[in-house]
Amino acid sequence: MNETYNLQRLNQLFRDLAEELDVPPSKYEEAKEHYDAVGEWLAEDDSELATYEPAIYPQGSFALGTAVRPLGDEDYDVDAVCLLQLGTDKVTQQQLKAMVGRRLLHPHSRYKEMVDPQDGGRRCWTIKYADASKFHLDVLPAIPDDCGWLIAQGVPAEWAVAAICITDRKTWNTNLDWPRSNPRGYSAWFKNQMRIQFDEAKARLARENRAEVEEIQDYEVRTPLQQMVQLLKRHRDLRYNGDEDKPISIIITTLAALAYNNEANLVEAILNVVPKMRQAIKNRDGVWWVSNPVNPQENFADKWQEEPRKAELFFEWLDAVEAEHQGLLTDRGFENIGHYLSNAYGERAARAVLAKFASRQSGAGNIAGVGPVILVPSKTSSPTAARVELPPKPSKPWRP
């Protein structure tokens, strides 16, 4: 009977929660400074890369606006593509990877001590910044891909043109074919999936700040889709803390964006999208398949083949998310919000959100038919007989 009311207050609560999980704009700016500086170093006149016009741009959650604050002591993980203007006929994967590495590890490079590990990762070079900033930057060496074949596959040209070839140390000795990727095309596709809400959010922020829409940076606004992805990722982190087979972000992001219908209300979006996320997971002759929307040949779920538990966990997780969020809409569910939030999103975030919720609630006045809402659930149902020492001078009870 209170579903509409619960939906309304749940929406505000989840928006606060997403804000709590969000990476502050200053971190986005810091990240941009970091990768721009790397880009400058790679492109300096005396760099062997200068002739290939190295360009650096973000990819992954920082590019999508779906990054979440790291849990505990973990670092912010920023991914950037380092694109060199070279063809697959001019360079091998090994050479490309080594060129970028040589420049980063150059004796005069400020990054030479920061590259970790010093021989590079499987696909990228990782730069670790000083502890206080809690950043590491993954630089992914890449060259442009020929996009004709993607367009032939039906990928719109505007996204296809951004396709790149990347290196993979694990396969470069056995497979001469370059691994392919298209992070920039993916970002464009993702943004397109939330276009209406994105423009709306920018216009709203511009109005609030009395600024021009063009002055608003992409990272300053959040659509319900971005917030939903942030919530789902943190829910996943908490539920499968450290499990190697946990649902991966790119699948969560892709399925959520595919099912998103530009809902303006965050909770409505979650309630509509989560049940629909299964629909885009295809089973092609016994092989689970989640297509990359900007490269139909790429299967984000390719690992599910070797490790069926990954698929099991993913479906189990979707069921849990759906049931939990449906449950919250009922009065009984909502009354246990404190329990739910700290389990699903962590105690720190839950506390901050509940404090905001409670202070709003206390101004809202009496609502008929709604019971007490548990902010901090008890840890046990029956009391333990705490051994208490009487204070040396206990207060004397009084009978007024």
Binding site: S362, P377, K396, P397, W398
Partner: protein, 251 residues
Amino acid sequence: MEAGTVRLVIDQMADVQARHSALDLVIVPSGGLIVRGPIGFSIEHDRYTVEDSYQIELHIPDDYPGSPPVVYETEGKIPAEFGHFMEAGNFCLGAPVEVRKAFAQHWSLRRFIDEQVIPYLFFYSFKREHGRLPFDDLYHGLVGLLQYYKEHFGTEFIPTLKLLKYLADDFAPPLSVCPCESGRRLQECHGPKLDELRPHYPPERFEMELREMIKQLLRENIRLPEGSVMPKRMWKQHQRRLRKKRRVRQR
């Protein structure tokens, strides 16, 4: 309620639950915060061990931690005849200023429960089991309040009223002679004892308590040095009334 206050209570719950794990924190539809649930304790006292548990509610006031929580027992396990309740039915943990003073020493919900609420519950359990009180309570009514202040200052009742007048009038010249007749100056004698109480209530509250005590004493025909114990305003009203009476008599 301010978000900062709610945040403080939520944060303090971790400490509370480390000892009293069955308590939870809820917000009721009217917006109030309540810590509720069963608490158990085991206390050794006077060769006896008392183990008991109660269902309690701690209502967090809007100005928390400026004021301590208000405590109720919700199962009716403590009968009304026990009597140590405020008008609203909440526990009367002690003289009101003492409760605030004790809480202001830590502003901790956990210590409030352990050092103020549980001793009160133990006080009742012990009396129920052994038919006598484990430690003294205050006398009934205003006499009890006066008793508290006497014990706090360590003075007889007239000097106690004089000291309370200092709090009620918010006027306590440090160089004046201390009302306890030690011959020392206030600042070297009972000044610090006044300072202990002053922060916990506004002067109006001390004035109200002192007025009530004096009215009661006068009703019982106890002679008082009225001018030096009545709060300033009360003294003026009193003189006006006396003058009026005198005029009526002369006529």
